[in-house]
Amino acid sequence: MGELASRLIEELNCETVFTIPIFGGIDVYESVVVTWIISVILILLSIFFTRNLKVNNISKRQAIAELIVTKLMGMVKKMIGEEGEAYVPYLTTILLYIGIANIIGLFGFKPPTKDLNVTIALALMSILLVEGAGLYHLGIKRWLHKFIEPIAIMTPFNILDLVTRPLSLCMRLFGNVLGAFVIMELLKLVVPFVVPAVFSCYFDLFDGLLQAYVFVFLTSLYISEAIE
């Protein structure tokens, strides 16, 4: 048990891979490096799929690319509605990133979403986008008026929402990924063969993709609420 506890602490801390020797040394964490790897994977896939696109006589590769893009963007568009169409590409990118980040653990990398800093950054980006979209679509006067809706007594709660929304977004993602990891470790300790593979399908694949979906769904919900 003590060994497991020390392993958990080791997994909670994000290791520094190397230090950039400028401005007194910038630490580069493991999660950042894995994020770079994910970016490279996504960029290479995009380049591979979008080479010589045609209008007529499309190749199989283009058919797959079109299927992926229309399915994913259609899914996000259905969540956010017609008014928020400008935010669909961003949300789809976040969906792809979190989805791959959650299941990259299967390939032996440490999922970046298990680092609290990454999920905090994602949640902050989301809340900035939500408030920015509200300001852009409504103008400053109506945006401020949103804080005293539906009645003036709700103002403290509306302001509190600015904090609790990103907090719950980042904690949900972090807790789910970490929880799945801990349960899998415990399971591997009890039954070291076959059974973990079955549960891994649920905890790593299904739950990881579901959390990416939930994150994007909630962000799009907040956006469509903010711009109406």
Binding site: A5, M171, R172, G175
Partner: protein
């Protein structure tokens, strides 16, 4: 250490709410499918989403219990 374990166990009590919530949601989803089998696809997506949101409270309990054990030791 013993009291820490008790505290962590108490923290996980919050998972009770998530269990009840998911149970109610699933029960009503079953009813809805029985009433309108043709809408089962939509109901399933909504149910999975609702369960994922309700599950979050249980996840918070888990994170807090873990923090009690790891941080306070």
């Amino acid at each position: 250490m013993n009291l820490l374990a008790v505290g962590a166990g108490l923290a996980v009590f919050g998972a009770l709410g998530a269990g009840i919530g998911i149970g109610i949601a699933t029960g009503h989803a079953t009813e809805a499918v029985a009433r309108q089998p043709e809408a089962s696809g939509d109901i399933r997506t909504t149910l999975i989403l609702g369960c994922a949101l309700a599950e979050a409270t249980a996840i918070y309990c888990f994170v807090i219990a873990l923090m009690i054990i790891v941080m306070l030791k």
